[in-house]
């Protein structure tokens, strides 16, 4: 009797296991198909990206840019005198305008100091820029340190 019940139980388990394995297998197949599809998609996308990058490389070719710049822009190659580093910049100018003041331009004119700033782009022998009114310039506003040639 016991044996018979056991037999039925085993048969039942077998059927269940078979069904379960079938389901797993089926799902795996679906997943594999999905994966293959995605892989293919990724490959296609990569190919497209590669094509676009190649195209970008063509468009970004310095020879082409130079040609276009010559035709359409009035730019000149940068001269060595036009470079300046950050440490050679003069100090931040004093605040001309208090926040909330009613007459910002007037305030600016009032506080106008005339610092004579020489940057590296001006050769050292060159005359300093003309100061509009030397009388109002306080003596403290001495010319900023020349930045170049000092090292």
């Amino acid at each position: 009797m016991i044996l018979r019940i056991l037999n039925f139980v085993v048969i039942g388990a077998l059927v269940l296991a078979a069904a379960y394995v079938y389901r797993i297998k089926y799902e795996a197949t679906v997943q594999a198909e999905h994966l293959a599809k995605l892989r293919d998609q990724v490959r296609q996308e990569r190919d497209k990206i590669a094509a676009l990058r190649a195209r970008w490389g063509e468009l970004d070719d310095p020879a082409r840019i130079q040609d276009l710049a010559k035709r359409f822009l009035k730019l000149q190659p940068v001269a060595p005198t036009q470079f300046e580093t950050l440490d050679h910049l003069p100090d931040q100018p004093p605040e001309y305008m208090r926040p909330g003041s009613k007459d910002p331009i007037g305030g600016m004119i009032e506080h106008l100091e005339v610092p004579v700033e020489v940057t590296g782009s001006i050769p050292q022998g060159a005359a300093p820029p003309q100061t509009p009114d030397k009388t109002t310039a306080p003596p403290a506003a001495a010319p900023a340190q020349s930045g170049t040639g000092s090292e």
Binding site: A36, A50, A63
Partner: protein, 591 residues
């Protein structure tokens, strides 16, 4: 009672095991079929056992097969897709040092036919030639009429053409997507990266080097089919490369030279930041590369470098310790060596100090320096500087230097000013870089290299002090000497010019010259070395009839420096003191 009971009990106590009587018919059958004394029960059990074993074996095999199918089928399918689709194998991208694409793979459709499946050859030929006018109809006909299973009709067609042919609906005609190498910058980087053949195998330049370094093996194994490979990053900077090439093309046209070449080398790491050899070719159309005029003159050609070699002579002299910057040599008269006379181009007719020999570019002086040190010292020094052996870089193309057959005193004297020894220009660049960078010989490379890696590879060849003195001389040459036109303000360039008479028919030509210019920037702490080389430049009105380096290679070099220095991150510094103060002073401090 008992006696009575006895006989009664008798029949009961006689339960003799009486076989139930077998029906006679059944007994008859049994005897007839199995024999008289066979135990049927045992036999049946054995049979059942046999059947069980049989079933277990059969089901076992079935189960095993199922498992095998389950494993194998999955791994097989995707592989087949790739093999079908990628005939020409994939290559890694090549990028410049800033990540700009120099070479990449694009997928292009290619047209093929399966002639056995074509029904109407005439119709197919007609329609295909309509879509692709450059196909030859008769050749197409013979191909389609063949009995082969597969023929290529045209590699690399446009998507529009593909669409058109697809719409024609011809049986037996199909497309495969293939990897095709694309060089978006065309001729800009041609000699540097080389090119590939139709099956995407590298046949020149870095492309060939890639194949030699594992890629070919991957191809053989059929693994290099997808673009999952790391890109190769070169040392080259596309912007610098373009600026150099642009100026060289202009110079070549302007001076009507047969060829122009240039290199920009990072002297501290040995990285080749730009390399141009004009005329070059478009790697997208590799047929041009076969023309002999388009060789890479910097690695494949060997040249007598002319006066730039005086840098080696003077460096050797200063490094030996026997000659100082204050030594002077007799340059009053042309130097007679047997039946040869060594002249100066612009004779000074007096004793010249070592710096004067360098910046007046005195052949007599250089020859006397070399002779005073001897042939052996010169050979040993040039060997140490890598000028006597073939220079090997990543590029497969390289040339052996042409050494004099007999290294006589005359040879020593001529080699001192750059005649009689032909080297690949890149080799000379490597040597001069070693003189400039503090005395370390670093093998040049086309791949990106960090300063630490360079430190591992470098080899000290001259002392730091000699290097410092040479920097001074190079700068002095720009301030006072033959390279005055190279003084771009702000970059503190130093340089040495060279003009070599070309050998035509075994004799030095009077008119045909090769001019070169080696520039370092900045001269006080060199970072980059620039070589400009012009092959047979002609005199123009501006050069007043001169064809020497100072009139053509030097101005070209100046233009190149002005363009590339900002790209290389060299900060312009205005109003620097002359070399006497800036470089020579630091030399005295270091003493």
């Amino acid at each position: 009672m008992s006696a009575i009971a006895e006989p009664i009990a008798e029949p009961i106590a006689e339960p003799l095991p009486v076989e139930p009587a077998e029906p006679w018919l059944r007994r008859f059958k049994r005897v007839m079929l199995y024999g008289r004394n066979v135990d049927r029960g045992a036999k049946a059990r054995a049979r059942v056992g046999l059947a069980i074993i049989g079933f277990v074996v059969v089901y076992g095999i079935i189960a095993l097969r199922l498992v095998l199918f389950g494993i194998v089928s999955e791994s097989r399918t995707p592989q087949r897709i790739i093999v079908d689709d990628a005939v020409a194998t994939a290559r890694p991208d090549i990028l410049d040092r800033n990540g700009e694409i120099l070479a990449t793979d694009v997928r292009v459709p290619s047209l093929y036919a399966e002639p056995r499946r074509i029904i109407d050859v005439d119709e197919a030929v007609e329609l295909l030639t309509a879509a692709l006018p450059d196909l030859d109809p008769s050749e197409l006909r013979t191909r389609l009429s063949s009995k082969r299973g597969f023929v290529w009709l045209k590699r690399d067609i446009t998507p529009e053409q593909q669409k058109e042919i697809y719409r024609q609906g011809l049986p037996g005609i199909g497309f495969l997507k293939e990897n095709k190498r694309d060089y978006p910058n065309g001729p800009e980087v041609s000699h540097l990266i080389g090119h590939v053949n139709i099956d995407n195998q590298g046949i020149a330049g870095i492309e060939k080097w890639l194949d030699g370094h594992g890629l070919a093996a991957l191809h053989m194994a059929g693994l290099a089919t997808d673009r999952l490979q790391n890109p190769v990053v070169l040392a080259a900077d596309l912007r610098v490369q373009h600026a150099l090439r642009d100026e060289l093309v202009q110079a070549r046209d302007h001076f009507h030279a047969i060829a122009a070449a240039g290199v920009v080398l990072n002297v501290n790491t040995g990285e080749i930041v730009a390399m141009v050899s004009e005329p070059d070719y478009d790697p997208n159309d590799p047929r041009q590369a076969i023309e002999p005029s388009r060789i890479n003159r910097l690695t494949t050609g060997v040249y007598e470098m002319g006066s730039t070699f005086k840098a080696f002579t003077v460096a050797m002299a200063l490094d030996s310790g026997k000659i100082t910057l204050n030594s002077s040599f007799d340059a009053r008269m042309p130097l007679r060596m047997g039946r040869f006379l060594i002249h100066d181009f612009e004779p000074e007719h007096r004793f010249l100090s070592v710096p004067e020999i360098f910046y007046y570019s005195s052949n007599i002086g250089a020859a006397r320096i070399a002779l005073s040190l001897g042939t052996g010292a010169q050979q040993a020094f040039l060997k140490k500087m890598g000028q006597l052996d073939r220079l090997r870089t990543e590029l497969p193309e390289s040339a052996e230097p042409i050494l004099p057959r007999r290294w006589s005193d005359l040879t020593t004297a001529t080699i001192a000013f750059g005649h009689g020894l032909s080297v690949a220009p890149l080799q000379a660049v490597m040597g001069v870089a070693a003189i400039m960078n503090g005395g370390y010989l670093i093998p040049p490379t086309f791949l990106k290299r960090t300063p630490e890696e360079a430190e591992q590879l470098r080899k000290r060849v001259i002392s730091q002090r000699t290097s410092l003195m040479m920097r001074y001389l190079m700068r002095l040459n720009v301030e006072k000497g033959t390279a005055r036109k190279a003084d771009v303000p702000g970059y503190y360039i130093g340089g040495k010019t060279g003009t070599a008479d070309k050998v035509v028919g075994g004799r030095y030509s009077k008119t045909k010259v090769l001019t070169d210019f080696m520039a370092i920037m900045p001269a006080d702490h060199p970072r980059y070395l620039l070589l400009i080389m012009l092959d047979e430049p002609k005199a123009t009105p501006e050069t007043h009839g001169f064809t020497t380096s100072g009139w053509n290679a030097v101005p070209t070099g100046a233009k190149v420096v002005a363009r590339i220095a900002p790209l290389l991150g060299i900060e312009p510094r205005m109003d620097l003191p002359p070399a006497d103060q800036l470089i020579l002073a630091s030399l005295k401090e270091s003493r």
